[in-house]
């Protein structure tokens, strides 16, 4: 077969040629189309950057770079976190737990330090970057209101409502008269044990033991200075055992022993004299006997009639005399007790003064 010539106008051939070239190019780049696209976008972005600020052409070797600058440029540059933080970021996620100050994660400016003059840091308080002072001081960045709210929400599951009927302190004291105080110590040391934590204090009101008169008097004598007459409280401090539990048990043992010992009446206790009793008792006093004797004598002389003791004692003047004598003994001598005593004696002896 001989060569065949197709007659095609010149303009058409040019366009055909173009098309061919384009298809060939397309075919050759089909595998690397993705890379091509990336290159294109990069070119565009660099163009945009160049439009933003005009870069000066650096001739290599013209200006010798100093070593420090070179190193600075070689180092990976990371933006500190606060540059990318938004005002509505959740702070509890940025600073979840207690930690040392991190200068890059703080979205507010902090400075710490002291400068004397211009030679020191140009008289500017050192900033947060490379500041050891800020590392030293304890911070509370992990205890912001947001954190506390989160803590409370988690702890809510473990909370129970306050028991009904224990609204006031008085009600609490009434239902739980015994108070046990123990101590725990928090300090920074490799060992968390502290010998002071063995101490146990037990407090109780004497009236809550519901002892009779004899028992109260006896327990007070047994307690000595562990009983406070002003508040009426018994305070037992136990620290003789090495452990808290042992000391608590010992305090409970002490309390039980005291209670039952106070209830017991030993035969020698009946020998108690008037002087042995700490509180003046009219019932057993010499004063009562004297009064009875006196009144009975007077009655005999007047009407020769025997009267019972109770009748005599229930008289108003005798009653007031008794109360004033008790007052005088228990409260001590002061203006009112002396005056009351005087009045009652005048009444008893039927003496009418013109002055009163």
């Amino acid at each position: 077969m001989s060569n065949t010539k197709i007659l095609v106008p010149l303009g058409l051939t040019n366009s055909l040629h173009h098309r061919l070239i384009i298809t060939v190019r397309l075919l050759s780049t089909a595998g690397n189309r993705k890379n091509e696209r990336i290159r294109q976008t990069r070119l565009e972005s660099t163009k945009q950057e160049e439009e933003k600020d005009f870069r000066v052409f650096q001739i290599k070797g013209l200006n010798p770079r100093n070593k420090r600058e070179q190193r600075k440029n070689d180092a990976p540059k990371m933006q500190p976190r606060y540059m990318n933080m938004k005002p509505d970021d959740d702070w509890t996620n940025v600073w979840p737990t207690a930690s040392t100050f991190k200068w890059s994660a703080i979205p507010f400016p902090v400075r710490q330090g002291y400068t004397d003059n211009l030679s020191e840091n140009e008289n500017v308080t050192p900033g947060r970057y490379a500041n050891t002072e800020l590392l030293k001081i304890p911070n509370f960045l992990h205890l912001s209101p947001g954190h506390i709210k989160k803590h409370c929400q988690v702890l809510k599951d473990f909370c129970t409502p306050w028991p009904a009927g224990l609204e006031t302190d008085e009600l609490c004291d009434q239902h739980f008269p015994l108070t046990v105080k123990t101590r725990d110590y928090c300090f920074s040391s490799p060992s968390v044990a502290d010998s002071r934590s063995r101490l146990v204090t037990v407090k109780l009101k004497l009236s809550d033991l519901r002892l009779d008169e004899h028992g109260e008097d006896k327990i007070k004598r047994l307690l000595g200075d562990k009983y406070d007459p002003e508040t009426g409280e018994i305070t037992l401090n136990t620290d003789r055992c090495p452990l808290k539990k042992q000391n608590y048990d010992y305090a409970m043992y002490l309390l039980t022993a005291l209670y039952y010992e106070a209830k017991k009446v030993e035969p020698w206790e009946l020998e108690k004299d008037e002087a042995d009793i700490d509180k003046y008792s009219w019932e057993r006093s010499q004063s009562k006997r004297n009064i009875l004797k006196l009144v009975q004598q007077n009655e005999k002389e007047e009407s020769l009639r025997e009267r019972s003791e109770d009748d005599i004692l229930s008289r108003d003047e005798i009653k007031s005399y008794a109360s004033s004598v008790i007052e005088l003994h228990n409260e001590g001598e002061n203006y009112t007790t002396i005056n009351n005593y005087k009045q009652s004696v005048l009444q008893l002896l039927n003496v009418k003064s013109q002055l009163t």
Partner: protein, 155 residues
């Protein structure tokens, strides 16, 4: 013997500059904030490097804590050789020891700036120290990019 023990002359008090660095003729010796503050300003313009409760009233174990701190400082200085930019700060909370300070972003020092090495050293010291001291040890370091960032004053 007794005669020798009695001091009859007044003390000269010549060495009163302990902990205060000497100035250089050209005033080109760089000092960090920590070094620039004299010891008598501890608690005034700079804080302590050891934070614990052993020196508070009625608290004990002062000696143990101090010796432990000395050991920790030596250990950290040896482990992070050429990397420490600041003093080692030791803070104690309950039985936990928190060691913090500043490290060089080491490209200008002997090590390459591979963060893996730092993480290894931190993990290694935490593990070893907590075994030695029988309590949890935490290390919280920040990084300083340049040695000159630490300069507060030149004398």
């Amino acid at each position: 013997m007794i005669k020798r023990g009695i001091q009859t002359t007044s003390c000269q008090c010549k060495n009163i500059r302990s902990g205060i660095p000497k100035t250089t003729p050209f005033k080109n010796k760089p000092l960090s904030y920590e070094e620039a503050q004299p010891p008598y300003r501890i608690g005034v313009t700079k804080a302590w490097n050891s934070w614990n409760t052993s020196n508070l009233k009625d608290e004990g174990k002062t000696g143990e804590t101090t010796i432990d701190d000395m050991f920790i400082r030596r250990f950290v200085k040896g482990t992070f050789h050429y990397l420490l930019a600041s003093e080692v700060i030791i803070k104690r909370r309950h039985n936990m020891i928190i060691i913090c300070g500043l490290l060089f972003g080491s490209y200008q020092q002997r090590m390459s700036h591979d963060p893996k090495k730092y993480y290894f050293l931190i993990g290694y010291s935490e593990e070893l120290l907590s075994h030695f001291l029988k309590c949890p040890v935490k290390m919280e370091f920040s990084v300083v990019t340049d040695k000159n960032d630490m300069v507060f004053k030149k004398i």
